[in-house]
Each structure stands twice: as C-alpha cells, then as structure tokens.
Symmetry: D2
C-alpha cells in the first residue's frame, strides 16, 4: 500500500469523527512526539542484549507494533494537513543523507557529519 492511500484513509477517519478541529499541525506535532516517547519507555531500562531479545517476547512486541503504528498514523496526518508529499520528502531526505554521509567517510562512524567536520577542521 502506498503512503497516499494511508493519508486518504486517515483523513476520512478524522472527518467522520469531526476531528479536523483538533488536528492542527501544532497539536499533531505534540501527539507525534508523545507517541514516539512511548517507545522510549519500552526500552529505557533494557541492556542492548535485552533490547535485542525483545523479539522473542510476544506481549512486548505487540506493544511495540502498536506504538510504531501510532507514530506512523500521526506522522501521515501531519504531512497531510500541511499538504506535504511524504514520499517526495523521504526521497529528497534519502538523497541528502547519501551526500552527507558518503560511504568512505561514514563507515562505522555514527557521529553526525557536521560535527565530525567541525572537529577535524
């Protein structure tokens, strides 16, 4: 399914409930940040090993799936309310990232390019 189909489905869902009055860009940015933080709560006290082992825990995985879906839903809604073409935005950002993190410089190094640059010169 492509992203535009989700935008249409979620717009209809909100319209049927008369929720567009609540879905201002500002309010949606808050809901998005809130839902993203739910994922922090799941992982915050886990070691890296435990964090990888979560795949075997059915109940926790259901919870993660739900939170991921919530983030996606608010993200799509926010893009829709601002008439942003999410697929185009993602494509552009992926190109920017390719230019910003060339393989030969970024290999095995997660530090942001601009910070790396600032330090080296």
């Amino acid at each position: 399914m492509d992203i535009k189909k989700y935008q249409r489905d979620l717009a209809r869902f909100a319209a049927e409930r008369d929720w567009d009055q609540f879905h201002t860009p500002k309010n949606l940015s808050m809901a998005l940040a809130k839902e993203s933080s739910e994922l922090l709560e799941i992982f915050q006290w886990l070691t890296d090993t435990q964090s990888a082992a979560i795949k075997e825990q059915k109940e926790e995985m259901l919870r993660v799936s739900e939170e991921i879906a919530d983030v996606f839903i608010y993200l799509v809604r926010l893009a829709d309310k601002l008439n942003i073409d999410m697929e185009a935005a993602v494509a552009r950002k992926m190109e920017m990232n390719s230019a910003k993190y060339p393989v030969e410089l970024a290999k095995g190094n997660a530090v942001k390019y601009n910070r790396r640059k600032r330090r080296s010169g």
Copy 2:
C-alpha cells in the same frame, strides 16, 4: 512506493556504512523521539492561526518536510530491526481505533475513549 521498499533501501544504506552496530532498537527509539521533537520546536510558540499559516512559508515548510522524513526513516528502521510488518501493524491499529472510537461516540470529542469511559462511570 510501498513501505517494504523503504525498509530494504534503508537497510542497504545502513549496511553500506556499517551502521547496524548503532541501530539497536533502543538507540533507534531515541533517534526517533529526538527527530519527532524537532517538530515541536517549529510549532511551540505559534498560535493556531500562525501554525496554519506555515503552509505559506517556504523555508519553514522545507524544514517541516525534512523532519517528517527523518521521523519516517527512523520509524521504518526500527520496525525493520524488529521484523515488524509496518503495514500490518498500521492496518491492525486502524481497526482497533475504529472499534475504540465509534463515530457516534467520538464525534467532535478528542478525549481518549478509556478516559471518557472512566469519567462516565
């Protein structure tokens, strides 16, 4: 483009840079929350009117588009690292939301169903 295609493209991008060592579910949940919060900064001091008017400001809209793409990218990566089928997760959540917020009860009311229920008795 469907979501699985993004998963594959982003997995390749990370593998080429040897970034899978950094992309633990825990770390990705942090990056996701951080990028979501960038959107808060854009809207935090704006009135609702100003927040709607942002559509006319080219520079701000570019910034919003970039942040939305960043959130999407980390979200897709997180789902991928946990072998979560994002499309299935979103479909399930949309069904849950339909059941949780029936049109006749949720119309014009943004309060969460469980809280509404708790209050009404």
Copy 3:
C-alpha cells in the same frame, strides 16, 4: 530545600533499591524524555483557553503535578550521575540567556536570537 538535598535523597532512594545499574546517563535521558512527553498528552488537544482553564480542574492538576515531579526527579538524577552542579548550570544558562535575549531586542518576540539574526543579516 536546595537542589543538592534532592540529589542526595534521590541517590539514596536508588542505592537502597540497587537501581544504580539502571541509572546510566543514557537510560536516564530516555526516562526524562518519556516523562516530559506525558505533559504533552495532557495539553495536546486543548485550545489555549482550555489549557489555561486546567487550573480549575483538580484531577488534571494532580496529574500535571505528578508529571512535573517525575521530570524533576529524573533530571536531578541525571545531573547527579554526571557530577553536574545543577545550580551552577542553571545560573550559567540564565546569564547566557540574558546576553542572548537582551530586553530591547527580545521584547514580544519569541523567535530564537540566532534565527532572527540569520534572517536579518
């Protein structure tokens, strides 16, 4: 009560429960961000008028108070684990803010100084 007293009380609370193993700076930054986001949930669908009227709602105010306390507690713990003198850090930041936002330039203008500067020059 001064902040250092809170640091000591919270350090003892964690030590008694053998929680220092969980309270790495990284984990505490996650818990802090999570608790901050709980406040977003309270305000996300409210208009500015409703957001001001929350002062009259006893149940909501209790919830806000609890979340504010949670943020404070994790913030103090994080500072403590990194040996940061919070009072000195806040004093320094307040001086920086005074220099960054001089009254005559910042009056009635919430835009960040660096962004304002970038635009005007």
Copy 4:
C-alpha cells in the same frame, strides 16, 4: 537556592521580555519536551561504556549541562504558570514512589510496580 527563588527570577525574565503571551502551559510543555530530547541526541549512539566516559569530555559535558539547565528552566516556568508548588509536588511524588517501590520488592528490579503486579497476579 530554593526552587521558589528560580520561579521568581524566571518570571521576571519573561515579564521583562513580554514573553508571558508565549508561555502558555501548552507551549511550555512543548518546549520542555523539546529540550529533554536534546539530551537523547547526545547519548543515542553511545554504548553504556561510552555514555559513562562522557564525564571526561569537557565539550560534551558543557553541552549536557546546558541542556539540563534548559529543561529545568522550562519545568520551573510551567509549574509557575500553573501555580504548582514544585517542592510540594516533588515531596509528594517521592512519598508515592517509596510506597510504590518498597525496597524488598524493588531491589534490583526496574520494572514498574503496576506492570510487575499485572504479571504476577
């Protein structure tokens, strides 16, 4: 210095700049969440060992101190705008936590009491 003194100093700082119009509880909750997330960015790609070693990195420590101060400043402002006595709120929460996490049950266990309870019973 006690927390009420910070409330007064920050209230005066905002009043001098005519910033109370921006400092609604809703807007302050956004600024608070944004600043908390800045700390995520600092720790997101670090291992636990690296996260502990940050204490030796002067530049990073300055950055952490600044972000901690920012979180504190917005937290105090939010409490002040809602007439919340932060010291009382923190004292009450610390008592609640003592009752919720008794030493003999919580020792070496970071899982939330309510979740632990749900599972065991």
